[in-house]
């Protein structure tokens, strides 16, 4: 089994193709969408996790490249510094995936990196600059 997160950019020429369908049907890959912005007749991008056995995984990636999808590993990582964190919880209200979250009843902020899609919303709202993106 191989599993990795990618940012995939589609040009307007191929955005109408059933690419994800093919990844599932022809390559037996498991796809977990983290973020997507695709408009008909425009460019689009998706952030997703691809997993499957390594042969299918590699063939699937080859297929994507062959039809002109720009595939890049999700390279940035959000780092949360608990010592800088003021524990206000503003980030948790903006985090779309619950990677930054508050626990009850202690009202403390925590970070689960495996849920993070590096949307960087937290960077804008953290007054303490306790989150940063690393490449």
């Amino acid at each position: 089994m191989v599993a990795n997160k990618f940012v995939m950019r589609f040009s307007s020429a191929i955005v109408d193709q059933p690419i994800i369908y093919k990844l599932v049907k022809d390559y037996d890959l498991v796809i977990n969408f983290l973020k997507a912005d695709i408009n008909p007749h425009k460019e689009g991008y998706v952030v997703l996790e691809l997993s499957g056995d390594s042969e299918n995984y590699n063939r699937g990636l080859e297929y994507l490249k062959s039809i002109g999808v720009d595939v890049a590993p999700l390279s940035g990582t959000i780092c949360w510094n608990p010592d800088r964190c003021l524990q206000c919880g503003a980030c948790a209200s903006f985090c779309p995936t619950g990677a930054l979250f508050m626990t009850e009843p202690d009202k403390e902020v925590h970070f689960d990196g495996s849920k993070c899609i590096v949307c960087e919303s937290c960077l804008d709202v953290c007054m303490a600059r306790a989150v940063e993106v690393r490449f």
């Binding site: 003021l86 206000c88 903006f94």
Partner: protein, 401 residues
Amino acid sequence: MVVEKSYDEINEKIKKGKAVVVTAEEIIDIVKEKGVEKAAREVDVVTTGTFGTMCSSGAFLNFGHAKPRIKMNRAYLNGVPAYAGIAAVDAYIGATALPESDPENRVYPGRFLYGGGHVIEDLVAGKPVKLEASGYGTDCYPRRHIETWITLEEINDAVLFNPRNAYQNYGAAVNTSDKTIYTYMGVLSPHLGNVSYSTSGQLSPLLNDPCYQTTGVGTRIFLGGGIGYVAWHGTQHSPTVSRGENKVPLDGAGTLALIGDLKQMSSEWLRGVSYLGYGASMAVGIGVPIPILNEEILSFTAVTDDEIYAPIIDYSFAYPEREPGNLGRVSYAELRSGTIKLQGKEVMTTPLSSYAKAREIAGILKEWITEGSFLLTEPVHGLPSLDSGITMKTLEEKNNR
């Protein structure tokens, strides 16, 4: 009232290690369980706490004299301008001051990565801070320029003096426009995308002493991790705003001016902050003890988040245009639940002040008092109260010609 205690009686108990001290959160269940009279008899002190951004903060510094001497009329700390229009080597570094090189909002929204609050945090953390100052030269102060490094330990005096802290209640902020706005209440998403709020509610100092019965000039407090005092009522102290039946103000009301020796404070409780598109400031940790002199004082400390209401203010129009009115009121219990209902919509709530840290401060102050190292002081002068007749003045443009 059946229970009457004096400051002296409570201090005697503190000295003997026999005082019963609880936090403003713990008192809620005690009163529910035992009733007001019994609780007032048993509990001597209730501790409060708050940790959030308080822009009206800063520190007076005295750097000591250089050889030859200089009368500074411009001073910069790590590039951040300090007010030097006082004596030769005195200056005031304000929490929101920005380096002249900061792009501010020219690249919108600005990031405001370093300002006066960060300078204070660095000083308190013991870090060397670069001092650059200039003067015009006088017979007694011939020097015109100095560039050196200072540390908190090496300078004569560093006094935190915050003209307005610990706001008693505050409006919750929303944005009804169709674009994101960047405010001192944080990032506000369009179309009521979120509602931000900033008090510690049932733990907040002045929400537990709504009529200023025990908090006054000279009250000893937890300030920035050390000991401080209430110096005066804060600027914009507005005790006459409308209140609920429980006497809790329904809007921003009382404020405190606070003072304390910066040298015994901690960078854990004085933290530089940066608000995207708004500016730099400082988060300040404050804890005020409330002596339980009688049942009434105790009953006020038992206030709960569902009994404290904040007005919802539109920061895309009403606030900037100084228009009156609000979009309704919401309790802190609702705000803390994560979402509120507003105009038929589920709106996510964004806290700006830390409830966890407020709780921690109330706990530290409780510990100090319980172990006998922190005695209570009786105010030497009360704060202007509900009968003061104070109303907020506005600034009007006048044509002097």
